[in-house]
């Protein structure tokens, strides 16, 4: 009982007890919270960075594979074409042999042809020779004029072919009849296999029929297949389009520096603050409209107008007071750039504990890009490269959670430290899918490298950011 009473007394003693913590406790809590928020933001940015990088790698991989397969197919076709040419040459040589047959051993078919050619005693023409062997059924009317022996020989076409090993029958003019003839299939059930074995694998085998005809048949068939496939897959109608899109990503300052100039007294005196701002990295987003035109089968030209924002957070250890010290603004490059030596005499830059500021630079961006279409089907893949002119619009520097006025700088301000126009190099891919006759949705991972510093030369501050972003575009195709 006594113990309980002692504990109750202690508990009661602390029940309403209060103790004021120091002022800095809340400041530290706020800093911790901001750090934690920054970490979450960085994590999500990291995720988007990884996603963008993965998309670029994927696109390059798919593109590479596509080029490899395309080249392989082309090489095979070229090889077949070369074979065909070679065989045509052989054929011409052999036909020349038929038109001038060896006198000592006249071949049976030629002899028959000669005897049934109307008795003019002349050398049979090439076409007749070919048709006699290649399409005997189609030439039945013609054959009817022949003798009974000739008719019998024509009907037994395979035997005829086998008998004429020395002078095989060739299709020169009317190859189509040959290609589709039943006899053709009877002689060689799988002509492609035969060709591959004979000419590509270099196997020695006596041909049962004219290889040139078979080759032509196969090529023609393949050509037709390709034509059909291209008709189905390609979108030659996609000649002109417009699109709306947005993109988000992050930027890192890949190059930053500071040098003293005759006119950057304010910045030079606070180089530490200027460097923090110059080095800051952050997020970027853009939205805008684009238009594109196909200039050849594989090349496209695209352009547009985008509204773009680059925002970064960094810590600043000071403020700049107004001349009457009634208001304070974050110590930033635009504010420091305005200061003169007399301002320093009056100590307008006041050192503080570091606090977080957000700087947001906005542009109107005009990109122009050339694109190479790697895959032009329902699923599309395109590589883009180009340049963008970025027109500076506005910069706002805001102190987070502080009672400090923001600094704003607009296009056209005479004392602006920002370049009115910047140029950036662009590189990206476009993975797209077409749906319907008029629409295509695309994912655009890309890189943007600023070609000149964000700030004017006279500020002495150099900042060159590299941005990685992932865009989504919705394209309308004018047919």
């Amino acid at each position: 009982m006594e113990r309980q009473t002692f504990e109750d007394a202690i508990k009661k003693a602390f029940e309403q007890a209060e103790f004021e913590p120091s002022e800095k406790a809340w400041i530290n809590i706020e800093l911790e919270l901001e750090k934690a928020q920054g970490w979450h933001l960085k994590s999500s940015i990291q995720f988007y960075k990884m996603l963008a990088a993965a998309s670029v790698v994927f696109a390059i991989g798919v593109g590479g594979l596509g080029i490899y397969l395309f080249n392989q197919e082309r090489a095979t076709e070229q090889r077949l074409m070369a074979l065909m040419q070679e065989m045509e040459t052989v054929q011409q040589e052999k036909v020349a042999g038929i038109t001038n047959p060896p006198a000592e051993v006249p071949p049976a078919d030629v002899k028959n042809s000669v005897s049934g050619s109307g008795g003019n005693g002349a050398t049979p023409n090439n076409n007749e020779v070919a048709l006699a062997g290649a399409a005997p059924q189609k030439k039945s009317d013609h054959n009817n004029r022949h003798t009974g022996e000739n008719v019998r020989k024509q009907e037994k076409f395979p035997a005829t072919v086998r008998d004429s090993d020395n002078y095989p029958l060739y299709a020169t003019q009317d190859t189509r009849a040959l290609r589709h003839s039943l006899e053709f299939r009877e002689i060689i059930p799988d002509p492609y296999k035969y060709l591959v074995e004979k000419y590509l694998n270099k196997q020695q085998e006596t041909p049962a029929a004219d290889p040139v005809a078979l080759m032509l048949a196969r090529l023609d068939q393949r050509e037709q297949e390709m034509r059909e496939r291209n008709k189905q897959d390609k979108h030659p109608d996609e000649k002109f389009w417009t699109s709306v899109g947005l993109a988000a990503g992050s930027f890192n300052t890949v190059q930053s520096g500071f040098s003293q100039t005759p006119s950057n007294f304010g910045i030079a005196s606070n180089a530490d603050i200027a460097k923090r701002e110059a080095k800051a990295s952050g997020t970027t987003y853009s939205l805008g409209v684009n238009a594109g035109v196909r200039i050849s089968e594989r090349w496209v030209l695209q352009g547009g107008v985008h509204y773009r924002s680059q925002a970064s957070d960094y810590e600043v250890p000071g403020v700049v007071g107004s001349p009457d010290f009634q208001t304070f603004k974050p110590a930033s490059i635009p504010e420091l750039d305005k200061l003169s030596p007399s301002d320093f005499a009056s100590s307008r830059v006041v050192a503080t504990v570091p606090y977080t500021v957000s700087s947001d630079v906005r542009y109107l961006s005009i990109p122009v890009q050339a694109g190479y279409v790697l895959i032009d089907r329902d699923w599309g893949l395109q590589l883009n490269a180009g340049i963008a002119a970025d027109l500076f619009l506005q910069n706002t520097v805001t102190a987070e959670g502080q009672n400090i006025e923001p600094t704003k700088q607009y296009r056209g301000d005479s004392d602006s430290p920002f370049r009115p126009v910047n140029f950036s190099g662009l590189l990206g891919t476009e993975i797209s899918y077409r749906f319907g006759d008029h629409y295509r949705l695309s994912l655009n991972p890309g890189l943007r490298y600023q070609l000149n510093s964000l700030y004017k030369d006279e500020t002495g501050v150099q900042t060159i950011p590299l941005a990685i972003d992932l865009g989504l575009r919705f394209r309308y195709i004018f047919n």
């Binding site: 006594e2 103790f19 809340w26 809590i29 911790e32």
Partner: protein, 193 residues
């Protein structure tokens, strides 16, 4: 709501909702409302005021980060107190690892009755802070937080017997100190706050 003091006009529910949305002004208002009470909790576990502020800061950050998961099954103040105690224990555990608690001989409790009616809580705080590390933690958990020895043993990774002996020692030391100081009256009663 730039001034956090205006937060006293807000209901607890409004404060919770605002903090859940991550609004800094609401976080500040919540802090302003509870920081003094929570500071006392932290002071009981800390050796110094600076150490207590460290616990307070870490504890409030956890409160703001975890308030989304606060299911309101208990009072906000109780939930926050638990977070402060856990934060303090996490810091104490590191020290307890270096200086582990061991069973100590139980000291006979003095016969006299001790009154806390004229004792200011800051004096009590000083006395508690002067206790050895292990004793202080066990005393706070048992006498003020209301944990039993089994729970304390689990929390601190010690045996139940160690918890009991440490508490007994703490209690005895406190009573001795209270008796020594003539300013404390010799009867149990309410303490001034």
């Amino acid at each position: 709501m730039k001034n956090g003091r205006n937060g006293f006009m807000l209901s607890e529910q409004e404060l919770i909702e605002g903090c859940r949305e991550g609004k800094r002004s609401f976080q500040k208002a919540l802090y302003d409302r509870y920081c003094r009470k929570m500071m006392v909790v932290c002071l009981r576990y800390a050796k110094t005021t600076a150490e207590a502020e460290d616990i307070l800061q870490e504890g409030f950050v956890k409160v703001f980060q975890g308030i989304k998961n606060f299911r309101q099954e208990s009072k906000l103040e109780t939930w926050m107190t638990r977070i402060m105690v856990n934060t303090a224990l996490n810091l104490q555990r590191k020290k307890l690892y270096l200086f582990p608690m061991v069973d100590v001989q139980e000291i006979d409790l003095p016969e006299e009755e001790i009154s806390l009616s004229n004792v200011h809580f800051t004096q009590l705080l000083e006395l508690i802070q002067s206790l050895p590390q292990g004793c202080r933690v066990v005393f706070n958990l048992f006498a003020i937080e209301g944990y039993n020895h089994k729970e304390i043993a689990e929390l601190l990774g010690i045996s139940e017997g160690t918890s009991k002996s440490q508490y007994s020692r703490a209690r005895s030391l406190l009573q001795q100190k209270l008796l020594k100081d003539s300013s404390y009256s010799i009867r149990y009663g309410e303490a001034n706050v």
